[in-house]
Symmetry: C2
DNA sequence: TGGCTCCGTTCAACAATGCGGAACCCACAC
DNA sequence: GTGTGGGTTCCGCATTGTTGAACGGAGCCA
């Protein structure tokens, strides 16, 4: 629809880590539109603060994006509540903690607290998307989606193997998700990155809906030593966040009943 | 120009801290446009990720804003270079450090490292604008703008007094900025917030241009005790960042010569 | 249960809007 | 001086977005 607005989206795509600045004619040629059109577009995007003009007449992402992202983060309730709990986890284990959510069929990292250990894990950044089928948070988020939606998602992305341990068989994944749902936590044993293991659990809002997942990411050699402890910790942490979001177990059981009967 | 894009800007304005979600008809009435128009607009903004739809058919800021803000921050060179230096300052003094820049005549906070002391300062967040005439970073940024631009800015905002110490007389401000430029640092002695003092210094890029300002924000009672030390520290820190940005003193003196002759 | 209102969404016709080619200006290079 | 490549301006035409009315669903009250 609104093709002008769609163009705005295309323009924003052009500003990546590798291309922080672009010129009018660059944008024009990349988008396959005349210079004049690109010019008008860029200029108006400057007006509304999505872009800004540098001294040498090139364009960069604008500061308003910063302002928007702060209000976005400040008003995302589960992130606000999760923050201190994530801090506690880092303090206790020194391991990296991730917070992710499902956004239009993709797993999106919403927050991250770097661990303090010397041997570090550094795979993701905030605002980045990752494949769902091979990460612990991804499995959690998939597990609590209706299966048809999961199927739709899979048909788009497939099940690309990132390591020898990645689940590549849909039926196998389905069984895994079933299990995840039952026991309330998910594992990733070197399925996304070799040498890296994760445990994740679901965060529910006041309606019992799973709105996010939180995980501990730990180098394999440390993970196996304290697997149970880590699992208990992440489950407890997510329960704590859910509680702060107004979730009470009652609604959960109620939901399960509905799901069973429906 | 491009009125549709401008509308996008107006829509974004509606999503503040106090209104994280909005409905179609809300947006329509607030913008004074028909529902159908608002609907098309919101929907397309969802498509491009600036907004997202909640389960109950309302709209929120979209996650793409997060992704954009991470690339924005990662590609803002002076912020990248300033980060570790800011960390050093916090480690050394335990006081809050701010990084700010000038954006279309406004002082905008780009980064902030919270101090570790018990008695804390908490005024600003990232992506927030503050009046320029009464903060230390503001004075720095104003001081290195051509005076006509400063005047234009002042005629828009005026010199509202935030405390009894705020400078409210344009001539007095002009003299102050002159002084700031000479000595290379700026002070804010309870001019923006009572009980709060700041010292700031300029950060220059490889061309000698002042691109940002960094400050220490300290409760008054602690500030006066170690004023000189704090001043030396922030000046040295900014010099360090400028150096990392490729700034060499030579270009600075050259610039001064130009300014003197021009 | 039926009728009420409120809200999001769809549709099609009309008119304004943004599109894009060409022309202009400027800086820099050869 | 001339040529190239950048950003910017202009204006007529047709595409695009606007609009109001009509639809369908959810929730409320009698």
């Amino acid at each position: 629809m609104l093709s002008t607005v769609r163009r705005v989206g295309q323009v924003l795509e052009l500003f990546g880590m590798d291309h922080p600045e672009r010129s009018v004619s660059e944008v024009a040629s990349l988008l396959g539109i005349p210079k004049s059109t690109a010019h008008a577009l860029l200029r108006t995007m400057c007006d509304i603060g999505l872009l800004r003009r540098t001294a040498d007449r090139r364009y960069r992402l604008g500061w308003r994006i910063l302002a928007l992202s702060t209000t976005l983060l400040a008003t995302t309730q589960y992130r606000v509540e999760a923050r201190p709990v994530m801090g506690d986890l880092v303090a206790r284990f020194g391991e990296t903690v991730h917070l992710a959510t499902m956004e239009s069929g993709r797993v999106l990292y919403v927050d991250k607290l770097q661990g303090t250990r010397a041997v570090q894990v550094s795979v993701t950044g905030i605002g980045v998307e990752l494949p769902a089928h091979c990460s612990a948070v991804g499995k959690i988020l998939l597990a609590f989606q209706p299966w048809p939606e999961v199927e739709a998602l899979l048909s788009r992305t497939g099940l690309p193997p990132l390591t020898p341990n990645t689940i590549t068989d849909p039926e196998r994944l389905r069984a895994e998700l079933e299990e995840v749902r039952e026991r309330g936590y998910a594992l990733d044993i070197e399925e996304a990155v070799l040498e890296l293991c994760c445990v994740a659990a679901p965060i529910r809002d006041h309606r019992g809906e799973v709105v996010a997942a939180m995980s501990l990411s730990v180098p394999a050699y440390r993970f196996h030593r304290q697997k149970d402890e880590l699992r208990r910790a992440i489950v407890a942490a997510c329960r704590e966040v859910s509680y702060r979001l107004g979730y009470t177990a009652y609604e959960d059981t109620q939901r399960r009943r509905q799901a069973a009967s429906g």
